[in-house]
Protein backbone atom coordinates (compact mmCIF):
# COMPACT_ATOMS: atom_id res chain seq x y z
CA UNK A 1 0.00 0.00 0.00
CA UNK A 2 1.19 3.55 -0.66
CA UNK A 3 1.48 6.26 1.97
CA UNK A 4 -1.91 7.44 3.30
CA UNK A 5 -1.66 10.91 4.73
CA UNK A 6 -4.67 11.69 6.88
CA UNK A 7 -3.27 13.42 9.97
CA UNK A 8 -0.23 14.68 8.08
CA UNK A 9 -2.05 15.71 4.89
CA UNK A 10 -1.27 19.39 5.36
CA UNK A 11 1.84 19.03 7.47
CA UNK A 12 4.55 21.24 6.05
CA UNK A 13 2.11 23.91 4.87
CA UNK A 14 2.98 26.87 7.13
CA UNK A 15 -0.55 28.25 6.84
CA UNK A 16 -1.96 25.08 8.38
CA UNK A 17 -0.29 26.03 11.66
CA UNK A 18 -2.51 29.11 11.90
CA UNK A 19 -6.13 28.86 12.88
CA UNK A 20 -7.32 30.44 9.62
CA UNK A 21 -5.37 27.98 7.50
CA UNK A 22 -6.53 25.10 9.66
CA UNK A 23 -10.19 26.12 9.45
CA UNK A 24 -9.93 26.35 5.65
CA UNK A 25 -9.16 22.64 5.48
CA UNK A 26 -12.17 21.74 7.63
CA UNK A 27 -10.50 22.38 10.96
CA UNK A 28 -12.71 22.65 14.07
CA UNK A 29 -15.63 21.16 12.11
CA UNK A 30 -15.19 18.00 14.19
CA UNK A 31 -15.59 20.02 17.37
CA UNK A 32 -18.52 22.00 15.95
CA UNK A 33 -20.23 18.72 15.17
CA UNK A 34 -19.32 17.13 18.50
CA UNK A 35 -20.96 19.87 20.56
CA UNK A 36 -24.25 19.31 18.71
CA UNK A 37 -24.05 15.63 19.65
CA UNK A 38 -24.88 13.95 22.89
CA UNK A 39 -21.69 13.30 24.88
CA UNK A 40 -22.28 9.56 24.83
CA UNK A 41 -22.78 9.66 21.05
CA UNK A 42 -19.28 11.13 20.68
CA UNK A 43 -17.82 8.27 22.69
CA UNK A 44 -19.83 5.79 20.60
CA UNK A 45 -18.31 7.20 17.39
CA UNK A 46 -14.84 6.68 18.85
CA UNK A 47 -15.87 3.14 19.72
CA UNK A 48 -17.09 2.47 16.17
CA UNK A 49 -13.86 3.83 14.75
CA UNK A 50 -11.82 1.14 16.50
CA UNK A 51 -9.24 3.76 17.52
CA UNK A 52 -6.50 2.36 19.75
CA UNK A 53 -3.91 4.38 21.68
CA UNK A 54 -0.94 5.48 19.61
CA UNK A 55 1.39 5.96 22.57
CA UNK A 56 2.62 2.39 22.60
CA UNK A 57 0.19 0.04 24.27
CA UNK A 58 -2.69 0.20 21.75
CA UNK A 59 -5.43 0.34 24.37
CA UNK A 60 -8.94 1.10 22.98
CA UNK A 61 -9.45 4.83 23.34
CA UNK A 62 -13.22 4.78 23.81
CA UNK A 63 -12.90 2.63 26.97
CA UNK A 64 -10.83 5.36 28.61
CA UNK A 65 -13.27 8.09 27.62
CA UNK A 66 -16.22 5.99 28.68
CA UNK A 67 -14.62 5.29 32.05
CA UNK A 68 -15.05 8.86 33.24
CA UNK A 69 -17.93 9.28 35.69
CA UNK A 70 -21.14 10.47 34.01
CA UNK A 71 -22.59 12.02 37.16
CA UNK A 72 -20.01 14.63 37.88
CA UNK A 73 -18.68 14.76 41.44
CA UNK A 74 -15.20 16.20 40.82
CA UNK A 75 -13.28 18.19 38.22
CA UNK A 76 -12.40 16.14 35.12
CA UNK A 77 -8.99 16.42 33.47
CA UNK A 78 -7.87 15.80 29.90
CA UNK A 79 -4.19 15.01 29.77
CA UNK A 80 -2.13 14.79 26.60
CA UNK A 81 1.04 12.74 26.72
CA UNK A 82 3.45 14.75 24.61
CA UNK A 83 6.58 13.57 26.38
CA UNK A 84 7.67 11.63 23.30
CA UNK A 85 10.89 10.05 24.48
CA UNK A 86 11.04 6.63 22.90
CA UNK A 87 14.27 6.40 20.89
CA UNK A 88 13.45 6.36 17.19
CA UNK A 89 10.15 8.22 17.47
CA UNK A 90 9.46 11.76 16.29
CA UNK A 91 5.85 11.73 15.11
CA UNK A 92 4.33 13.66 17.99
CA UNK A 93 6.97 16.28 17.34
CA UNK A 94 5.84 16.77 13.74
CA UNK A 95 2.17 16.80 14.78
CA UNK A 96 2.78 19.46 17.41
CA UNK A 97 5.01 21.61 15.25
CA UNK A 98 3.06 21.40 12.00
CA UNK A 99 -0.49 20.44 13.00
CA UNK A 100 -0.93 21.97 16.46
CA UNK A 101 -4.65 22.70 16.02
CA UNK A 102 -5.35 19.06 15.26
CA UNK A 103 -4.01 18.08 18.66
CA UNK A 104 -5.85 20.90 20.44
CA UNK A 105 -9.13 20.13 18.67
CA UNK A 106 -8.80 16.46 19.61
CA UNK A 107 -8.27 17.38 23.26
CA UNK A 108 -11.30 19.70 23.24
CA UNK A 109 -13.45 16.93 21.73
CA UNK A 110 -12.26 14.55 24.47
CA UNK A 111 -13.09 17.29 26.96
CA UNK A 112 -16.61 17.65 25.59
CA UNK A 113 -17.20 13.89 25.61
CA UNK A 114 -16.14 13.52 29.23
CA UNK A 115 -17.34 16.82 30.74
CA UNK A 116 -13.73 17.95 31.05
CA UNK A 117 -12.79 21.07 32.99
CA UNK A 118 -9.14 21.50 32.20
CA UNK A 119 -6.67 20.03 29.80
CA UNK A 120 -2.90 19.77 30.19
CA UNK A 121 -0.45 19.00 27.47
CA UNK A 122 2.77 17.67 28.96
CA UNK A 123 5.54 18.32 26.44
CA UNK A 124 9.11 17.13 26.99
CA UNK A 125 11.36 20.04 27.91
CA UNK A 126 13.62 19.63 24.90
CA UNK A 127 10.74 20.20 22.47
CA UNK A 128 10.75 23.99 22.59
CA UNK A 129 9.58 24.37 18.99
CA UNK A 130 6.59 22.14 19.69
CA UNK A 131 5.75 24.07 22.83
CA UNK A 132 5.90 27.39 21.00
CA UNK A 133 3.69 26.10 18.20
CA UNK A 134 1.14 24.59 20.60
CA UNK A 135 1.10 27.74 22.73
CA UNK A 136 0.41 29.88 19.68
CA UNK A 137 -2.41 27.54 18.64
CA UNK A 138 -3.94 27.65 22.12
CA UNK A 139 -3.87 31.45 22.11
CA UNK A 140 -5.61 31.47 18.73
CA UNK A 141 -8.21 28.96 19.89
CA UNK A 142 -9.04 31.17 22.88
CA UNK A 143 -9.41 34.20 20.63
CA UNK A 144 -11.84 32.30 18.40
CA UNK A 145 -13.93 30.92 21.24
CA UNK A 146 -12.91 27.27 20.90
CA UNK A 147 -11.39 27.46 24.37
CA UNK A 148 -12.31 29.42 27.44
CA UNK A 149 -15.77 30.24 28.69
CA UNK A 150 -19.03 29.15 27.00
CA UNK A 151 -17.40 27.33 24.10
CA UNK A 152 -19.42 27.71 20.87
CA UNK A 153 -22.38 28.90 22.90
CA UNK A 154 -22.78 25.60 24.74
CA UNK A 155 -22.29 27.02 28.20
CA UNK A 156 -19.36 24.65 28.66
CA UNK A 157 -15.99 26.02 29.87
CA UNK A 158 -12.69 24.37 29.06
CA UNK A 159 -9.05 25.49 29.36
CA UNK A 160 -5.83 23.98 28.08
CA UNK A 161 -2.43 24.61 29.65
CA UNK A 162 1.01 23.76 28.35
CA UNK A 163 3.30 22.08 30.86
CA UNK A 164 6.91 21.36 30.03
CA UNK A 165 9.03 18.55 31.37
CA UNK A 166 12.70 18.88 32.16
CA UNK A 167 14.44 15.84 30.76
CA UNK A 168 13.31 12.34 31.71
CA UNK A 169 12.15 9.43 29.54
CA UNK A 170 10.30 7.84 32.44
CA UNK A 171 7.91 10.82 32.53
CA UNK A 172 6.28 9.40 29.38
CA UNK A 173 4.92 6.55 31.49
CA UNK A 174 1.45 7.77 32.31
CA UNK A 175 1.51 7.58 36.09
CA UNK A 176 5.03 9.03 36.25
CA UNK A 177 3.85 11.81 33.97
CA UNK A 178 1.11 12.62 36.45
CA UNK A 179 3.60 12.63 39.34
CA UNK A 180 5.78 15.01 37.36
CA UNK A 181 2.89 17.30 36.46
CA UNK A 182 1.96 17.45 40.12
CA UNK A 183 5.44 18.70 40.95
CA UNK A 184 7.19 15.53 42.02
CA UNK A 185 10.04 13.37 40.82
CA UNK A 186 8.92 11.52 37.70
CA UNK A 187 8.25 8.21 39.39
CA UNK A 188 5.36 5.91 38.57
CA UNK A 189 2.42 5.25 40.87
CA UNK A 190 0.71 2.06 41.95
CA UNK A 191 -1.64 0.81 39.26
CA UNK A 192 -4.90 -0.98 38.82
CA UNK A 193 -6.01 -3.34 40.36
CA UNK A 194 -3.94 -2.22 43.37
CA UNK A 195 -5.05 1.38 42.92
CA UNK A 196 -7.92 3.04 41.04
CA UNK A 197 -7.62 3.63 37.28
CA UNK A 198 -6.64 7.16 36.18
CA UNK A 199 -10.18 7.52 34.83
CA UNK A 200 -11.29 7.33 38.47
CA UNK A 201 -8.38 8.91 40.33
CA UNK A 202 -5.72 10.46 38.12
CA UNK A 203 -4.44 14.02 38.36
CA UNK A 204 -5.06 15.39 41.86
CA UNK A 205 -7.16 12.27 42.52
CA UNK A 206 -9.75 13.32 39.97
CA UNK A 207 -11.06 11.49 36.87
CA UNK A 208 -8.46 11.87 34.12
CA UNK A 209 -8.27 10.85 30.47
CA UNK A 210 -4.69 10.35 29.31
CA UNK A 211 -3.88 9.81 25.65
CA UNK A 212 -1.00 10.26 23.30
CA UNK A 213 -0.72 13.25 20.93
CA UNK A 214 -1.45 11.14 17.84
CA UNK A 215 -4.48 9.53 19.51
CA UNK A 216 -6.08 12.93 20.15
CA UNK A 217 -5.17 14.06 16.63
CA UNK A 218 -7.33 11.24 15.19
CA UNK A 219 -10.49 12.38 17.00
CA UNK A 220 -11.41 15.36 14.76
CA UNK A 221 -11.42 13.12 11.66
CA UNK A 222 -13.47 10.44 13.39
CA UNK A 223 -16.14 12.86 14.53
CA UNK A 224 -16.24 14.76 11.27
CA UNK A 225 -16.46 11.72 8.97
CA UNK A 226 -17.93 9.15 11.33
CA UNK A 227 -16.45 6.17 13.13
CA UNK A 228 -17.58 3.77 10.43
CA UNK A 229 -15.67 5.65 7.76
CA UNK A 230 -12.53 5.65 9.90
CA UNK A 231 -12.86 1.92 10.47
CA UNK A 232 -12.65 1.24 6.73
CA UNK A 233 -9.01 2.27 6.95
CA UNK A 234 -6.88 -0.72 7.86
CA UNK A 235 -9.81 -3.10 7.47
CA UNK A 236 -7.49 -5.81 6.10
CA UNK A 237 -5.95 -6.28 9.56
CA UNK A 238 -7.38 -8.21 12.48
CA UNK A 239 -8.07 -5.41 14.86
CA UNK A 240 -6.16 -2.26 13.87
CA UNK A 241 -8.08 0.58 12.28
CA UNK A 242 -7.09 3.87 10.77
CA UNK A 243 -3.65 5.18 9.95
CA UNK A 244 -0.45 5.12 11.96
CA UNK A 245 2.49 7.46 11.67
CA UNK A 246 5.84 5.71 11.53
CA UNK A 247 9.01 7.63 12.20
CA UNK A 248 11.62 6.02 10.00
CA UNK A 249 15.28 6.53 10.82
CA UNK A 250 18.63 4.76 10.82
CA UNK A 251 20.24 3.61 7.61
CA UNK A 252 17.64 4.80 5.11
CA UNK A 253 17.90 7.33 2.31
CA UNK A 254 14.96 9.51 3.30
CA UNK A 255 14.39 9.38 7.05
CA UNK A 256 11.16 11.00 8.17
CA UNK A 257 7.56 10.43 9.19
CA UNK A 258 5.43 8.26 6.95
CA UNK A 259 1.75 7.82 7.66
CA UNK A 260 0.34 4.49 6.50
CA UNK A 261 -2.86 2.53 6.72
CA UNK A 262 -2.69 -0.52 8.94
CA UNK A 263 -2.06 -3.49 6.67
CA UNK A 264 0.92 -1.89 4.96
CA UNK A 265 4.11 -3.94 5.14
CA UNK A 266 7.42 -2.97 6.71
CA UNK A 267 9.12 -3.40 3.32
CA UNK A 268 6.68 -0.92 1.77
CA UNK A 269 7.53 1.47 4.57
CA UNK A 270 11.23 1.02 3.84
CA UNK A 271 10.59 1.78 0.20
CA UNK A 272 8.75 5.00 1.12
CA UNK A 273 11.80 6.03 3.09
CA UNK A 274 13.94 5.63 -0.02
CA UNK A 275 15.33 2.19 0.74
CA UNK A 276 18.48 1.20 2.58
CA UNK A 277 21.52 3.44 2.70
CA UNK A 278 25.11 2.25 2.84
CA UNK A 279 24.42 -1.48 2.70
CA UNK A 280 21.89 -4.29 2.71
CA UNK A 281 19.11 -4.60 5.29
CA UNK A 282 20.23 -6.56 8.34
CA UNK A 283 17.70 -5.81 11.03
CA UNK A 284 14.74 -3.64 11.93
CA UNK A 285 13.42 -2.31 15.20
CA UNK A 286 9.92 -1.39 14.05
CA UNK A 287 8.24 0.35 16.97
CA UNK A 288 10.75 2.27 19.06
CA UNK A 289 13.71 1.01 21.09
CA UNK A 290 11.48 -0.97 23.46
CA UNK A 291 10.21 -3.49 20.94
CA UNK A 292 11.92 -6.74 19.91
CA UNK A 293 14.40 -6.56 17.04
CA UNK A 294 13.65 -8.36 13.75
CA UNK A 295 16.16 -9.90 11.37
CA UNK A 296 15.91 -9.53 7.61
CA UNK A 297 13.61 -12.49 6.98
CA UNK A 298 11.25 -11.46 9.77
CA UNK A 299 11.18 -7.88 8.50
CA UNK A 300 10.33 -9.02 4.98
CA UNK A 301 7.26 -10.84 6.24
CA UNK A 302 5.99 -8.23 8.69
CA UNK A 303 2.62 -6.56 8.21
CA UNK A 304 1.83 -3.42 10.20
CA UNK A 305 -1.00 -4.05 12.66
CA UNK A 306 -1.10 -4.51 16.43
CA UNK A 307 -1.73 -8.27 16.25
CA UNK A 308 0.08 -8.81 12.94
CA UNK A 309 3.26 -7.28 14.28
CA UNK A 310 3.22 -9.57 17.30
CA UNK A 311 2.92 -12.52 14.93
CA UNK A 312 5.92 -11.16 13.06
CA UNK A 313 7.90 -11.22 16.32
CA UNK A 314 7.73 -7.60 17.43
CA UNK A 315 5.25 -4.81 18.18
CA UNK A 316 3.82 -1.62 16.68
CA UNK A 317 4.88 0.26 19.82
CA UNK A 318 5.21 3.99 19.29
CA UNK A 319 6.03 3.62 15.59
CA UNK A 320 9.70 4.53 15.85
CA UNK A 321 11.03 2.36 13.06
CA UNK A 322 14.79 1.99 12.75
CA UNK A 323 16.36 0.11 9.84
CA UNK A 324 19.87 -1.22 10.39
CA UNK A 325 22.24 -2.07 7.55
CA UNK A 326 24.74 -4.93 7.28
CA UNK A 327 27.52 -2.90 8.91
CA UNK A 328 25.69 -2.68 12.22
CA UNK A 329 27.10 -4.73 15.08
CA UNK A 330 24.05 -6.06 16.91
CA UNK A 331 25.96 -6.49 20.18
CA UNK A 332 26.96 -2.81 20.14
CA UNK A 333 23.44 -1.77 19.16
CA UNK A 334 21.95 -3.73 22.03
CA UNK A 335 24.57 -2.42 24.45
CA UNK A 336 23.54 1.11 23.45
CA UNK A 337 19.88 0.22 23.90
CA UNK A 338 20.56 -1.24 27.35
CA UNK A 339 22.58 1.83 28.29
CA UNK A 340 19.59 4.03 27.46
CA UNK A 341 17.35 2.10 29.86
CA UNK A 342 19.97 2.00 32.61
CA UNK A 343 20.33 5.75 32.41
CA UNK A 344 16.59 6.37 32.30
CA UNK A 345 15.53 3.89 34.99
CA UNK A 346 13.93 5.94 37.75
CA UNK A 347 15.42 3.73 40.44
CA UNK A 348 12.20 3.00 42.28
CA UNK A 349 12.21 -0.79 41.96
CA UNK A 350 15.08 -3.25 42.27
CA UNK A 351 14.62 -5.49 39.20
CA UNK A 352 14.83 -2.55 36.82
CA UNK A 353 17.30 -0.36 38.72
CA UNK A 354 19.81 -3.17 39.27
CA UNK A 355 18.94 -5.33 36.29
CA UNK A 356 19.40 -2.62 33.67
CA UNK A 357 22.81 -1.76 35.14
CA UNK A 358 23.89 -5.40 35.24
CA UNK A 359 22.91 -5.84 31.62
CA UNK A 360 25.04 -2.87 30.65
CA UNK A 361 27.97 -4.16 32.70
CA UNK A 362 27.83 -7.58 31.06
CA UNK A 363 27.42 -6.16 27.57
CA UNK A 364 30.28 -3.77 28.24
CA UNK A 365 32.45 -6.67 29.34
CA UNK A 366 31.62 -8.50 26.12
CA UNK A 367 32.37 -5.40 24.09
CA UNK A 368 35.72 -5.04 25.79
CA UNK A 369 36.66 -8.55 24.73
CA UNK A 370 36.34 -10.02 28.21
CA UNK A 371 33.00 -11.75 27.74
CA UNK A 372 32.54 -15.21 29.25
CA UNK A 373 30.68 -18.10 27.59
CA UNK A 374 28.13 -18.01 30.43
CA UNK A 375 27.32 -14.37 29.76
CA UNK A 376 24.63 -15.18 27.22
CA UNK A 377 22.77 -17.32 29.74
CA UNK A 378 23.35 -14.73 32.44
CA UNK A 379 21.90 -11.97 30.26
CA UNK A 380 18.91 -14.12 29.44
CA UNK A 381 18.34 -14.79 33.14
CA UNK A 382 18.43 -11.10 33.96
CA UNK A 383 15.90 -10.26 31.26
CA UNK A 384 13.58 -12.86 32.80
CA UNK A 385 14.06 -11.38 36.25
CA UNK A 386 13.11 -7.92 35.00
CA UNK A 387 10.30 -8.72 32.57
CA UNK A 388 6.95 -8.74 34.36
CA UNK A 389 8.62 -8.20 37.73
CA UNK A 390 9.24 -4.48 37.62
CA UNK A 391 7.04 -1.71 38.91
CA UNK A 392 6.33 -0.07 35.56
CA UNK A 393 6.68 -0.70 31.85
CA UNK A 394 10.20 0.69 31.61
CA UNK A 395 11.64 -2.47 33.10
CA UNK A 396 9.82 -4.68 30.60
CA UNK A 397 10.87 -2.36 27.80
CA UNK A 398 14.49 -2.72 28.90
CA UNK A 399 14.32 -6.50 28.97
CA UNK A 400 12.57 -7.14 25.63
CA UNK A 401 15.21 -5.80 23.23
CA UNK A 402 18.00 -7.73 24.95
CA UNK A 403 15.99 -10.95 25.12
CA UNK A 404 14.98 -10.61 21.47
CA UNK A 405 18.50 -9.93 20.24
CA UNK A 406 19.79 -13.02 22.07
CA UNK A 407 17.04 -15.03 20.38
CA UNK A 408 17.30 -13.57 16.88
CA UNK A 409 21.04 -12.93 16.60
CA UNK A 410 22.67 -15.50 18.93
CA UNK A 411 25.61 -15.94 16.56
CA UNK A 412 26.69 -12.31 16.98
CA UNK A 413 26.95 -12.69 20.75
CA UNK A 414 28.70 -16.05 20.49
CA UNK A 415 31.18 -14.66 17.99
CA UNK A 416 31.91 -11.59 20.08
CA UNK A 417 32.53 -13.66 23.20
CA UNK A 418 34.53 -16.31 21.33
CA UNK A 419 36.78 -13.92 19.41
CA UNK A 420 36.83 -10.93 21.70
CA UNK A 421 35.70 -8.69 18.88
CA UNK A 422 32.65 -7.90 16.82
CA UNK A 423 31.59 -10.04 13.89
CA UNK A 424 31.40 -6.74 12.00
CA UNK A 425 34.84 -5.49 10.97
CA UNK A 426 34.00 -3.39 7.90
CA UNK A 427 35.30 0.19 7.97
CA UNK A 428 31.71 1.47 7.86
CA UNK A 429 30.80 -0.69 10.83
CA UNK A 430 33.81 0.37 12.88
CA UNK A 431 33.14 4.01 12.09
CA UNK A 432 29.83 3.80 13.96
CA UNK A 433 31.23 2.31 17.13
CA UNK A 434 32.08 4.15 20.31
CA UNK A 435 35.73 4.53 21.21
CA UNK A 436 36.35 1.40 23.23
CA UNK A 437 35.62 -0.69 20.15
CA UNK A 438 37.70 1.40 17.82
CA UNK A 439 40.66 1.33 20.18
CA UNK A 440 41.01 -2.38 19.71
CA UNK A 441 41.42 -2.45 15.94
Amino acid sequence: MPERRLLLEHSGDPEYRTIEGYEKTGGYQGLRKAVTMDRQAVIDEIKKSGLRGRGGAGFPTWIKWNGIEKEKTKPHYILCNADEGEPGTFKDKELMENCPHLVIEGMIIAGWATQGDKGYIYIRGEFVDCARSIKRAIDEAYAKGYLGKNILGTGWDFDIYVHLGAGSYECGEESALMSSLMGERGMPRLKFPHAPLPTVAGLWDCPTVINNVETYACAPFIIQNGGEWYATLGASTKNSRGTKIFSVSGHVNRPGNYEVEFGTTLMELLEMAGGMKGGELKACVPGGSSVPILNREMTEKAVIGYEEMVEAGSMVGSGGCMFLNEHTCIVTFIWRTALFYARESCGKCTPCREGTTWMVQILERIREGAGKPDDIELLRDITKMIDGRSFCGLGDAAAWPVAAALRVFPEEFEYYIGHGRSIVQSPEGLAMMPESDLARV
Binding site: G125, A131, K135, G165, A166, M182, W204, V248, G250, A342
Partner: protein, 208 residues
Protein backbone atom coordinates in the same frame (compact mmCIF):
# COMPACT_ATOMS: atom_id res chain seq x y z
CA UNK B 1 29.57 2.24 33.23
CA UNK B 2 29.11 5.92 33.80
CA UNK B 3 27.66 6.99 37.06
CA UNK B 4 25.00 9.60 37.35
CA UNK B 5 26.55 12.81 38.64
CA UNK B 6 25.49 13.75 42.14
CA UNK B 7 26.73 16.76 44.00
CA UNK B 8 29.55 16.08 46.36
CA UNK B 9 27.97 15.70 49.78
CA UNK B 10 30.83 17.00 51.89
CA UNK B 11 31.01 20.20 49.87
CA UNK B 12 27.38 20.94 50.30
CA UNK B 13 26.44 23.95 52.38
CA UNK B 14 23.76 23.57 55.01
CA UNK B 15 20.42 24.41 53.39
CA UNK B 16 19.27 27.83 54.52
CA UNK B 17 16.30 28.23 56.84
CA UNK B 18 13.28 29.82 55.15
CA UNK B 19 13.75 33.07 57.04
CA UNK B 20 17.38 33.33 55.91
CA UNK B 21 16.55 33.03 52.23
CA UNK B 22 17.19 36.06 50.12
CA UNK B 23 14.49 36.33 47.45
CA UNK B 24 16.09 37.36 44.18
CA UNK B 25 13.45 36.74 41.51
CA UNK B 26 12.95 39.80 39.32
CA UNK B 27 9.59 41.53 39.32
CA UNK B 28 8.80 39.87 36.00
CA UNK B 29 9.66 36.44 37.39
CA UNK B 30 7.40 36.97 40.38
CA UNK B 31 4.52 37.88 38.09
CA UNK B 32 5.17 34.95 35.81
CA UNK B 33 5.08 32.56 38.73
CA UNK B 34 1.89 34.19 39.96
CA UNK B 35 0.25 33.51 36.57
CA UNK B 36 1.56 29.96 36.37
CA UNK B 37 0.12 29.23 39.81
CA UNK B 38 -3.35 29.94 38.42
CA UNK B 39 -2.95 26.94 36.07
CA UNK B 40 -2.94 24.36 38.86
CA UNK B 41 -5.15 23.56 41.83
CA UNK B 42 -2.18 23.57 44.23
CA UNK B 43 1.17 25.29 44.62
CA UNK B 44 3.25 22.15 44.50
CA UNK B 45 2.21 21.47 40.90
CA UNK B 46 3.96 24.65 39.79
CA UNK B 47 7.27 23.08 40.85
CA UNK B 48 8.68 22.38 37.38
CA UNK B 49 7.70 25.77 35.91
CA UNK B 50 9.04 27.50 39.03
CA UNK B 51 12.36 25.68 38.66
CA UNK B 52 12.54 26.81 35.03
CA UNK B 53 12.01 30.41 36.12
CA UNK B 54 14.68 29.97 38.77
CA UNK B 55 17.12 28.49 36.28
CA UNK B 56 16.69 31.56 34.10
CA UNK B 57 16.88 34.02 37.00
CA UNK B 58 20.03 32.43 38.44
CA UNK B 59 22.01 32.41 35.21
CA UNK B 60 21.24 29.06 33.61
CA UNK B 61 21.76 26.79 36.62
CA UNK B 62 20.34 26.15 40.07
CA UNK B 63 22.63 27.09 42.95
CA UNK B 64 21.41 26.24 46.47
CA UNK B 65 20.00 29.78 46.74
CA UNK B 66 17.72 29.10 43.77
CA UNK B 67 16.45 25.87 45.27
CA UNK B 68 15.84 27.70 48.54
CA UNK B 69 13.96 30.49 46.81
CA UNK B 70 11.66 28.07 44.98
CA UNK B 71 11.06 26.23 48.26
CA UNK B 72 10.03 29.45 49.99
CA UNK B 73 7.86 30.66 47.14
CA UNK B 74 6.00 27.35 46.84
CA UNK B 75 6.00 26.67 50.60
CA UNK B 76 7.77 23.34 50.27
CA UNK B 77 10.89 22.12 52.01
CA UNK B 78 14.36 22.66 50.59
CA UNK B 79 14.92 18.90 50.49
CA UNK B 80 11.78 18.29 48.50
CA UNK B 81 12.60 20.90 45.88
CA UNK B 82 16.16 19.67 45.57
CA UNK B 83 14.89 16.12 45.30
CA UNK B 84 12.61 17.04 42.43
CA UNK B 85 15.17 19.17 40.62
CA UNK B 86 17.88 16.50 40.70
CA UNK B 87 15.57 13.98 39.04
CA UNK B 88 15.52 15.88 35.76
CA UNK B 89 18.51 16.13 33.45
CA UNK B 90 17.70 19.62 32.18
CA UNK B 91 18.02 21.29 35.56
CA UNK B 92 21.64 21.92 36.42
CA UNK B 93 21.61 21.57 40.16
CA UNK B 94 24.53 22.77 42.20
CA UNK B 95 27.08 23.16 39.42
CA UNK B 96 27.31 26.08 36.99
CA UNK B 97 27.45 25.35 33.29
CA UNK B 98 28.89 27.30 30.38
CA UNK B 99 27.17 30.03 28.41
CA UNK B 100 26.34 27.43 25.81
CA UNK B 101 25.47 23.84 26.57
CA UNK B 102 26.21 21.58 23.63
CA UNK B 103 24.28 18.37 23.95
CA UNK B 104 25.24 15.49 21.72
CA UNK B 105 22.71 12.74 21.18
CA UNK B 106 24.51 9.39 21.01
CA UNK B 107 21.37 7.31 21.28
CA UNK B 108 20.37 4.67 18.73
CA UNK B 109 19.68 6.44 15.43
CA UNK B 110 22.33 9.06 16.07
CA UNK B 111 24.92 6.42 16.92
CA UNK B 112 23.97 4.54 13.74
CA UNK B 113 24.58 7.75 11.80
CA UNK B 114 27.98 8.51 13.28
CA UNK B 115 27.28 10.48 16.48
CA UNK B 116 30.29 9.03 18.28
CA UNK B 117 32.63 10.51 15.66
CA UNK B 118 30.95 13.90 16.07
CA UNK B 119 31.36 13.51 19.81
CA UNK B 120 35.08 12.69 19.44
CA UNK B 121 35.51 15.74 17.26
CA UNK B 122 33.77 18.05 19.70
CA UNK B 123 35.76 16.73 22.64
CA UNK B 124 38.99 17.26 20.74
CA UNK B 125 38.01 20.68 19.44
CA UNK B 126 36.87 22.03 22.81
CA UNK B 127 39.42 20.09 24.85
CA UNK B 128 36.80 18.82 27.27
CA UNK B 129 35.18 15.50 28.10
CA UNK B 130 31.50 14.82 28.84
CA UNK B 131 30.15 17.05 31.56
CA UNK B 132 33.09 19.44 31.48
CA UNK B 133 33.17 23.16 30.78
CA UNK B 134 35.85 24.97 28.81
CA UNK B 135 38.12 27.10 31.07
CA UNK B 136 36.71 30.31 29.59
CA UNK B 137 33.24 29.26 30.75
CA UNK B 138 31.94 29.36 27.20
CA UNK B 139 30.94 25.76 26.47
CA UNK B 140 29.76 22.74 28.40
CA UNK B 141 29.63 19.42 26.58
CA UNK B 142 27.07 16.82 27.50
CA UNK B 143 25.93 13.49 26.15
CA UNK B 144 22.16 13.10 25.96
CA UNK B 145 19.69 10.36 25.18
CA UNK B 146 17.36 10.40 22.20
CA UNK B 147 16.08 13.92 21.51
CA UNK B 148 13.42 12.44 19.26
CA UNK B 149 14.38 14.05 16.01
CA UNK B 150 16.16 10.95 14.74
CA UNK B 151 15.39 11.87 11.13
CA UNK B 152 18.06 14.54 11.64
CA UNK B 153 20.70 12.22 13.11
CA UNK B 154 23.38 12.87 14.16
CA UNK B 155 21.77 15.60 16.18
CA UNK B 156 22.90 18.27 18.62
CA UNK B 157 20.87 20.49 20.90
CA UNK B 158 22.11 23.94 21.85
CA UNK B 159 19.74 26.07 23.89
CA UNK B 160 16.30 25.95 22.31
CA UNK B 161 17.63 24.74 18.96
CA UNK B 162 18.04 21.33 17.39
CA UNK B 163 20.89 21.15 14.90
CA UNK B 164 21.23 18.23 12.55
CA UNK B 165 22.26 16.27 10.68
CA UNK B 166 25.69 17.63 11.57
CA UNK B 167 29.09 17.15 9.96
CA UNK B 168 32.48 18.24 11.30
CA UNK B 169 32.19 21.39 9.18
CA UNK B 170 28.82 22.17 10.75
CA UNK B 171 30.42 21.77 14.17
CA UNK B 172 33.13 24.27 13.23
CA UNK B 173 30.55 26.76 12.01
CA UNK B 174 28.42 26.25 15.11
CA UNK B 175 31.29 26.92 17.49
CA UNK B 176 32.16 30.11 15.59
CA UNK B 177 28.58 31.27 15.70
CA UNK B 178 28.20 30.55 19.39
CA UNK B 179 31.39 32.40 20.31
CA UNK B 180 29.89 35.51 18.71
CA UNK B 181 26.52 35.00 20.38
CA UNK B 182 25.68 37.84 22.76
CA UNK B 183 23.42 36.13 25.26
CA UNK B 184 23.93 32.69 26.81
CA UNK B 185 21.76 30.11 25.06
CA UNK B 186 21.32 28.27 28.37
CA UNK B 187 19.38 31.22 29.77
CA UNK B 188 17.41 31.70 26.58
CA UNK B 189 16.28 28.07 26.69
CA UNK B 190 14.87 28.51 30.20
CA UNK B 191 13.10 31.70 29.19
CA UNK B 192 11.54 30.14 26.08
CA UNK B 193 10.27 27.27 28.21
CA UNK B 194 8.68 29.67 30.67
CA UNK B 195 7.07 31.77 27.92
CA UNK B 196 5.59 28.72 26.17
CA UNK B 197 3.68 27.87 29.34
CA UNK B 198 2.01 31.25 29.63
CA UNK B 199 -1.17 32.08 27.76
CA UNK B 200 -1.31 35.35 25.84
CA UNK B 201 -3.59 36.67 28.59
CA UNK B 202 -1.02 35.67 31.25
CA UNK B 203 1.73 37.44 29.34
CA UNK B 204 -0.35 40.61 29.18
CA UNK B 205 -0.76 40.54 32.94
CA UNK B 206 2.99 40.02 33.39
CA UNK B 207 3.69 43.04 31.20
CA UNK B 208 1.19 44.95 33.35
Amino acid sequence: MDTIPVSNLKDRPRPPKPEEVELRFSERAVKELEQLLTHYPDKKSAMLPALWIAQREYGGWLPPEAIAEVAVRLQRSYAEVEGVATFYTMYHVGHPIGRHLIEVCTCLSCYLCGAYRIADYLKEKLGVDWGETTPDGMFTLEEVECLDACDRAPLLQVGDQYIGPVTREDVDALIERLRAEESPTTIRLADEIVQAQLHASDQEKVRG
